[in-house]
């Protein structure tokens, strides 16, 4: 990497009070190897246009204020080396707010949706506190480690505004709020775990609406792995008996039905079992098309009856399910 590079910043500009539409302005500058994206934002403001607006505060990756997107990639401006991104995307960098839809002024967005979702899951320890305790409320190192990494969240919104499930379904709680839910659910001092789990289990807004794209894991500047926490919340719903039978929970549990019979997932059974026979009518049209094209086929037996081949040593899978399964619906 050369020491200095000429870079063009194609920068999103918008003032909700005066502009009808956003526009992009190009700023050219020579960028040195140690400069951060935040340095470039400062230079736009100090050297080009004093009205350019963005949030920044701590400069140490801890306040979460300066989260933006560079070429679509969630970026904490004060942590990200600029030339690293030039190497990845070329010498024109697209500088945009975390969510262009929610822009108020340039990089500054309205994060109210983020905070509303966050508040929904009760992001605090719920417990009866003795005003005059005689002993400390101790936790073991293991108990503490259970939520340590999820507690590192700086609420920058990088994962939240990278989540395509949220983009398509505004009711979805999103990865940041769900990570926060996990943090308190596994806190041994907290007494609202099941209540919180029920909130995260709600159809249409909870964990079952996660599309499993891993965008949040990629976006998080603190390497928290929000989707990993969503996976743990899924498991906790079954472990603590909070999971209600519905299309999503049956879909997760139902994989075992086919696996016990053939070793494979039964593609037809998983639909009818998850949806229930009555609701499966929705899929008849698709099934007919799949039949016509041969996706549902007669090569290996009668469709829906015995068309799925069996794996070798199926008895091993059956035995392992029998001795390793911990959770039930």
């Amino acid at each position: 990497m050369s020491q200095i590079k000429k870079v063009t910043l194609k920068t999103f500009r918008f003032n909700a009070e005066t502009d009808y539409l956003p526009y992009y302005k190009h700023y050219e500058m020579e960028v040195g190897k140690d400069e951060l994206i935040l340095d470039l934002l400062n230079r736009i403001k100090w050297e080009h246009d004093g009205s350019f607006s963005y949030r920044r505060s701590c400069r140490h990756g801890i306040c979460g204020a300066c989260a933006i997107k560079v070429n679509g990639r969630a970026t904490l401006a004060c942590k990200q080396n600029a030339l690293e991104l030039v190497e990845l995307f070329g010498d024109e960098l697209l500088i945009e707010p975390s969510s262009t839809k929610r822009a108020i002024k340039d990089m500054i967005i309205d994060k109210s949706d983020f905070w509303e979702k966050h508040a929904t899951i009760k992001p605090y320890v719920v417990t009866e506190v003795d005003p005059h305790p005689q002993t400390e409320s101790k936790q073991s190192i293991d108990e503490f480690n259970n939520f340590l990494d999820s507690d590192l969240c700086i609420q920058c919104g990088a994962c939240h505004y990278s989540c395509p499930a949220l983009e398509a379904n505004p009711d979805f709680l999103g990865p940041a709020a769900l990570n926060a839910a996990y943090r308190y659910v596994v806190d041994t001092r907290d007494e609202a775990g099941d209540e919180r789990l029920k909130i995260t289990a709600e159809e249409g807004k909870g964990v079952w609406d996660c599309v499993k794209c891993y965008e949040c894991a990629e976006a998080c500047p603190k390497e928290i792995d929000p989707i990993g926490k969503i996976g743990k919340l899924h498991n906790l719903q079954f472990e603590r008996g909070v999971a209600e039978p519905n299309v999503a929970t049956r879909h997760a549990e139902g994989f075992l039905r086919g696996m016990k019979k053939t070793g494979y997932l039964d593609e037809a059974d998983i639909v009818t079992y998850s949806e229930g026979w009555l609701a499966s009518y929705k899929h008849i049209g698709t099934a007919m098309k799949m039949m016509k094209s041969g996706k549902i086929h007669w090569h290996s037996g009668i469709p829906f009856i015995n068309s799925i081949p069996k794996i070798k040593n199926l008895d091993e899978v059956q035995k392992l399910i029998e001795i390793s399964q911990n959770n039930k619906l």
């Binding site: 498991n235 075992l256 041969g294 086929h297 392992l320 390793s324």
Partner: protein
């Protein structure tokens, strides 16, 4: 090629059920390129990230069992489904980095006479073609250049994210700017379509419980490819294929625009360029008509 490449193939469930064309085209490509394939007939479902939601430990046990059979052969396990790749690699990563979990899993596996050691690598077929067989070697084998076709690469989430998990298996592909599928299309002399949605999610995994989300995500990607003049889309993931091929009529309704785009499996595209037979390529198995590509390609 000095030494013959030899892999243990984990077919996954879809290749054995709704996408037989994926298996036949994979085997045809391997055959044309002189790659030896041993199918892991003992391998079960990977759990597809749903069993993992229900019972994570059980999912690890079952995936470890699959990997055991590749280890027994002393071969790299290759996958032809991004989600199989993800879940197998997740189990491998968990067991290789957590001795306690590995011991607990092996305690169960011992009951059926197996032991997970961690000796086999797990790689998607796309990356073995590129990194081990080599793009230049593929280019030399092209019989039917795809030069008439604008091909939109659709990477599928589970081969590129989380990037830390995949970096050894996918040549360090950057999830924000993936290039492997583009370069494969280029090697087959096709024209890679540049479009924003190529590394986005198709929504397959919430097809049942959040249908609208699923349709919107697929619709966005398909329309983005169409608006950038794609003649077809190609994906290394049969789940992306199933969502985006099979549901185009309902996606059209959701999006309020006609969505019509053939979505090929990655090995089908390679098979087309290598001059494999129509029976091997299996475009007849697509819901969205794709058979015209046989003549358009040649």
């Amino acid at each position: 090629m000095s030494k013959q490449l030899h892999y243990a193939l984990f077919t996954g469930c879809t290749a054995k059920q709704s996408t037989p064309e994926l298996l036949s085209s994979t085997l045809a490509v391997a055959n044309k390129l002189g790659i030896k394939i041993t199918i892991l007939e003992e391998a079960s479902c990977c759990g597809a990230s749903h069993l993992q939601d229900f019972d994570e430990f059980l999912a690890h046990v079952l995936n470890a069992r699959n990997i055991c059979y590749a280890e027994k052969l002393g071969l790299t396990m290759i996958t032809i489904c991004n989600t199989c790749q993800l879940n197998s690699a997740m189990t491998k990563h968990a067991l290789d980095n957590d001795p306690d979990l590995k011991a607990r899993v092996n305690e169960k596996l011992a009951e059926v006479g197996l032991e997970y050691k961690g000796t086999s690598e797990i790689k998607h077929f796309l990356y073995t073609l590129i990194d081990e067989y080599g793009l230049e070697n593929i280019r030399n084998k092209v019989e039917v250049p795809l030069s008439h076709l604008n091909i939109a690469p659709f990477y599928g989430c589970h081969n590129i994210r989380p990037s830390e998990l995949h970096e050894n298996a996918n040549g360090g592909e950057n999830p924000y700017n993936p290039t492997s599928l583009d370069s494969l299309i280029d090697a087959l002399e096709g024209n890679p379509v540049e479009y924003e949605s190529k590394n986005k999610c198709c929504g397959f995994h919430v097809e049942l419980q959040a249908n609208h989300t699923s349709e919107v995500l697929s619709g966005n990607a398909l329309l983005d490819a169409m608006d950038n003049n794609a003649d077809l889309m190609v994906t290394p993931c049969p789940l992306c294929h199933l969502k985006m091929d099979t549901y185009q009529p309902s996606i059209s309704k959701t999006m309020g625009r006609d969505v019509e785009l053939p979505v090929l499996h990655m090995p089908q595209m390679v098979a087309l360029a290598l001059g494999c037979t129509e029976e091997e390529i299996g475009l007849n198995f697509h819901v969205q008509k794709a058979k015209h590509l046989y003549s358009q390609a040649s």
